[in-house]
Symmetry: C2
Subunit: 320 residues, 2 copies
């Protein structure tokens, strides 16, 4: 008899979330463990993870009925099953960790599938969320960084080496662009991540003396800019306009690549839909070829925020 | 018994080339007809094309042994089988022509597969050329315009609407870019096509009084710039450097999308390999993420120029 449940694991820099999920995307049981207390000892983390997974399976009452485990992790490689050179994970910061293989052994052979967090989110969105029924879409994750998961003909694009879909590091600004964390200049991530948005606000406040409620905030975050925009702060509203315009312009180029049905936005910053949607759509339509004008949708993730990461990762396991 | 031959048709603005091809890519017989003498009468062109195809099949001695007909045409759509709004084809300039369906009827039911010329070239390169054995690559065609065919997991990317792969119309220059034929500014095509290259030479000659053999040429074409570069003309060499740098920089972004094994260059301008390769590779490696530096190859088409267009289109028919 076919096993009816999967486990989703979302590995983050500070915590890792684990859940047992059914075919309709209901999370039956879940738990969280720390990711950041194992120093450089990858095996210790994987051991703790396996123990936690076994615990939550037991709690769900579905022992023996778990088909596979899907894992989304920064720099997770679908082909090799490795997590490699992930700056935010001390145990994988300077080397490649055989993640999928080791976890599968510790889980007594339950199959493990690994990919990066943005690809996991794309699979989740296609299986349970805003992209249900779509075969061609581009998911952009707007968080601390800008990630992406590209789906063509119903399949995530992994490319020759398993690392495809790094749209956060395409050029949004070609000359004198901001320095990005990756070492390049002008990357989309340097402008359209939560950090990039806050940086725009800080730069603009320094450059002018325009009044803004943000002048009273000490270390401005994207949340502060969002709150200010909600209060109608003119500068904060323009920061969102600018950010959305850069994003829309870049998306026009992405459309020329894979002609998607929709761009799907996901992640913390995507909650600012009311400030992003209009200027982004305008910039996208102004910068794409005529045949795509007013044809490509922009949709915002419909996954319940608290479950999204687990669902995304778990969706991978259905393909095992 | 399985039929062992295919027909390739390359529809161009002035002429259309037709050939009967075997599984190893040998052209057994070929012919050429005019594409530009039928005015807006698409059916008259299709009728002439069918007559010519029948003639060349007869000449090859393979009647009854033709498996399918592959057609590459400007704005050819793989999904709909239509050639639509192709500015260089009077009979399809202002409307959508049911090309594949009509030709198949006229050919007594031999299956017809249609795509655009750049996608046909990509399939040709994968089946017979420089991309043999590759499952992930991006073909860039450097001709009058800049086209592209993207292959992921061994399949051409058509996208949601069949028009994917318009990389010539992604932004190479973001501010004050050149006006492109498509109406947008700063497109890759405006810089890296044969026309774009000649334009760079003309602009630079106007802007300076630097000596150059190109000053004696009345209407500078890309061929003139190539000849001047071969003579060691400093300005012409810098024009190639500049063109190749813009192309390499854009390719760095394309790599972030689909993580290809190689960028394959095809078309008239790609013959200037000696002037394009080094600066393009340098710009590509300087602008891509570290994990792709020195990993992605640039290869030049290996298809025999005279057969290339027919082979590319014919390769499509093997998938029928």
């Amino acid at each position: 008899m076919e096993k009816k449940y999967v486990v989703g694991v979302d590995v983050g820099g500070q915590t890792s979330k684990i859940g047992v999920v059914d075919a309709r995307g209901c999370v039956l049981a879940q738990t969280v463990i720390r990711s950041d207390v194992y120093g450089t000892d990858a095996d210790a983390f994987l051991e703790a993870l396996a123990v936690a997974i076994k615990g939550v399976i037991k709690e769900s009452g579905k022992e023996g009925d778990v088909r596979g485990i899907g894992v989304g992790a920064p720099n997770g490689n679908y082909y090799t099953g490795e997590v490699s050179f992930a700056p935010n994970l001390a145990w994988a910061a300077n080397r490649a960790v055989k993640f999928a293989e080791t976890l599968q052994e510790k889980m007594d052979g339950i199959p493990v599938s690994l990919t990066n967090d943005a690809n996991a989110a794309a699979v989740g969105e296609m299986t349970y969320g805003a992209a249900r029924g779509m075969k061609n879409f581009i998911m952009i994750t707007l968080g601390t960084g800008v990630g992406s998961g590209i789906v063509i003909d119903g399949k995530v694009v992994y490319g020759h080496d398993g690392f495809a879909g790094e749209l956060g590091h395409t050029s949004a600004v070609r000359s004198n662009g901001r320095l990005c964390g990756c070492g390049k200049q002008g990357c989309l991530e340097a402008y359209c991540s939560a950090i990039g948005l806050a940086r725009t606000a800080r730069e603009w406040l320094e450059m002018s003396s325009e009044p803004s409620v943000l002048r009273d905030v000490e270390k401005i975050t994207s949340k502060d800019v969002y709150d200010a925009a909600k209060e109608g702060d003119a500068l904060a509203l323009r920061v969102f306009d600018y950010t959305a315009t850069i994003l829309g312009r870049s998306c026009a180029d992405f459309i020329a690549f894979s002609a998607p049905e929709a761009i799907v936005l996901f992640g913390g910053l995507a909650r600012a839909k009311e400030f992003l949607y209009e200027p982004m759509l305008k910039a996208m339509n102004e910068n794409c070829l005529k045949m795509w004008k007013d044809k490509v949708k922009i949709v915002f993730s419909q996954l319940k925020e608290s479950d999204a990461a687990i669902l995304g990762a778990s969706a991978l396991a259905w393909e095992l």
